[in-house]
């Protein structure tokens, strides 16, 4: 075969491969709903990682050689080690906004002050590329999208307190739990407490130049009072080797033991954004 000399490829295969990949990516993205509906941390984590493997085109998400290849490629493309995608957390807290404590079933929040270390290099490279190609940078910049996933789990630090039961309800449009049969659901119900998602949230960086920002992820506090260890995973939906995980400890008090001023619940929460 001498396709390299003649530039000949069979488009009936390769063209359909492109369409297949687009469809498969959408299904992969959609399947995250399934993991979220059964609150399965292992499944959600594996799904996000699979998405990255499929997007980047690698055989492993964690193989040192693959990570090294990815990092060196990023560094050479984006002007050095600062071009390797990385998030730095200036502060990490879990609290109930406007309250002194976290009470059971509160709408509490994980607040992260994040710095995107690669923002400058990415922006510079993008603008340079546009200049080379004679494309207005605004067009290319507006197409930018960087996804990070926040996965939150909670474990009561008192081993005598039994784990909460898996509480799943059908969704309005049939996504999620209704797709599982009883037999399958059982496997998720039997999962350890620390493998159960409290919340799963994607945050998208639509501006490549954004250097820093405050991220607020709202989630329901545990139903039982006690001292909790919150496991937080920040996983990239695009890049290899730049995921973070950390734990935060917080006390959750019984709602009945604290006095709260009734507030009108609101679904709309003002975004707290900050551009660099």
């Amino acid at each position: 075969m001498n396709a390299s000399k003649t530039n000949q490829v069979d488009s009936t295969y390769f063209k359909s491969a492109v369409e297949f990949r687009q469809r498969a990516s959408l299904i992969l993205e959609g399947s995250l709903h399934l993991a979220a509906s059964v609150k399965s941390y292992p499944l959600a984590k594996t799904l996000i990682e699979t998405q990255v493997m499929f997007k980047v085109g690698v055989l492993s998400i964690s193989h040192p050689q693959t990570i090294e290849w990815f990092r060196s490629t990023m560094a050479s493309t984006y002007g050095g080690p600062e071009g390797i995608p990385a998030l730095e957390f200036r502060s990490k807290t879990i609290r109930t906004p406007d309250e002194n404590e976290i009470a059971t079933e509160d709408l509490c929040a994980l607040e992260l002050d994040i710095e995107r270390k690669h923002a400058d290099n990415f922006t510079r490279q993008k603008i340079e590329l546009c200049a080379k190609q004679g494309i207005p940078p605004q067009i290319a910049l507006s197409a930018y999208r960087e996804i990070w996933w926040i996965l939150i789990r909670a474990k009561n630090m008192d081993p005598t307190v039994p784990a909460e039961k898996l509480d799943v309800k059908p969704n309005q449009d049939g996504v999620g739990i209704t797709f599982f049969d009883k037999k399958n659901l059982k496997q998720y119900e039997n999962e350890a407490e620390e493998n159960r998602l409290v919340h799963m949230f994607p945050f998208v960086v639509p501006n490549v130049a954004q250097k820093a920002g405050k991220l607020t992820v709202r989630f329901m506090a545990p139903k039982k009072a006690g001292r909790y260890k919150f496991f937080v995973d920040v996983k990239s939906g695009e890049f290899l080797g730049c995921d973070h995980d950390f734990t935060l400890v917080a006390d959750v008090v019984d709602r009945n033991t604290v006095q709260r001023v009734e507030k009108v619940p609101s679904d709309k929460v003002e975004p707290t954004t900050e551009s660099g």
């Binding site: 488009s11 295969y13 491969a17 055989l59 493309t77 590329l129 190609q133 969704n171 799963m200 992820v217």
Partner: protein
């Protein structure tokens, strides 16, 4: 940057009535995935099940049927083209023979014979007239031949223009296909290359042999009826196609830099980058410069530009 929305989870309560999850096709896919995903599923298990969701198998089956159809058309087209080429070659050879040998052998020979038998040999003037006549007829043949070639070319051009305007341009004329056209790389090449590096048959089977026992419905045509049989992944053409594409995706770095494809990739890359702003469906612009996207993306784009 961003803030999450309502409880219990943003993903768990989609309220958009236009959600793609309302489509029966996607619901079927999700049901299939929900019945196979486990908390212990590995990356390869997930890729196997994603690659074999009902909608993707239907898609693969359709594209395979279309590819088979195109292959038949292409073979037919090439046969016709070959015949036409041979016919023209014969005609040109005959024409050359006529011109080189001084006329259409049979007729002229007969004429000459007639002339020889019916006309006195010493009749020089008449012989000269005959020669002139022969030259005239040769000239007429030449002109007729040229006119014929011209007419054929015009006819071909017109047919081509009409086909283009009416959208009936045969893909078979332009497409290059593996196994039909020499040196064309396609699925077989991908499978062969993956086999050489131990990535084919799909490594998900090595990692989880239970996937080999998984069965899929396959429609088979008997004399009169269609019957559906349950077959394993290895025996299901559409499954193997989707698994091949997935394996190609995961090995794109190796495939892209393969020597047999090297030049093509560079060519496609250049074309793609020039036009990349139009590709909003894929990934941010700069990623094409570092991600090892398979050449197919580039190829796809070129075909759209045509």
């Amino acid at each position: 940057m961003a803030t999450s929305s309502a409880l219990p989870t943003a993903l768990n309560t989609p309220t958009d009535p236009l959600s793609p999850f309302n489509s029966p096709e996607i619901k079927l896919d999700m049901m299939y995935l929900a019945s196979h995903f486990l908390p212990t599923s590995t990356h390869y298990d997930i890729l196997f099940f994603i690659s074999t969701v009902p909608s993707l198998l239907i898609f693969a089956k359709d594209t395979m049927e279309r590819a088979d159809q195109l292959k038949k058309e292409r073979i037919e087209f090439l046969k016709k083209q070959k015949k036409e080429k041979e016919r023209r070659q014969v005609e040109l050879t005959m024409f050359d023979t006529v011109l080189n040998e001084g006329g259409w052998a049979d007729e002229d020979d007969n004429n000459n014979n007639n002339a020889k038998t019916n006309t006195p040999i010493d009749s020089v003037g008449e012989e000269s007239d005959d020669n002139n006549k022969t030259l005239d007829s040769l000239e007429a043949i030449r002109q007729a031949k040229e006119a014929k070639i011209r007419a054929e070319k015009e006819k071909e051009l017109l047919a081509k223009q009409v086909a283009e305007v009416t959208g009936k341009t045969s893909l078979a004329e332009n497409l290059l296909l593996e196994d039909v056209d020499e040196g064309v790389l396609g699925r077989k090449w991908v499978e062969l290359t993956l086999t050489q590096v131990g990535q084919w048959p799909p490594i998900c089977f090595k990692k989880n042999p239970s996937l080999l026992q998984h069965t899929f419905p396959l429609e088979k045509k008997n004399r009169r009826h269609y019957t559906t049989a349950l077959v394993t992944a290895m025996d299901h053409p559409a499954v193997m196609r989707t698994l091949c594409i997935t394996a190609g995706r995961l090995n794109s770095q190796m495939l892209n830099t393969h020597t047999e494809l090297g030049k093509s990739v560079i060519f496609f890359n250049v074309i793609y980058c020039i036009n990349s702003v139009l590709c909003v469906d894929f990934y941010p612009l700069e990623k094409y410069s570092y991600y090892s996207y398979p050449f197919s993306i580039y190829f796809d784009f070129i075909s759209e530009c045509k």
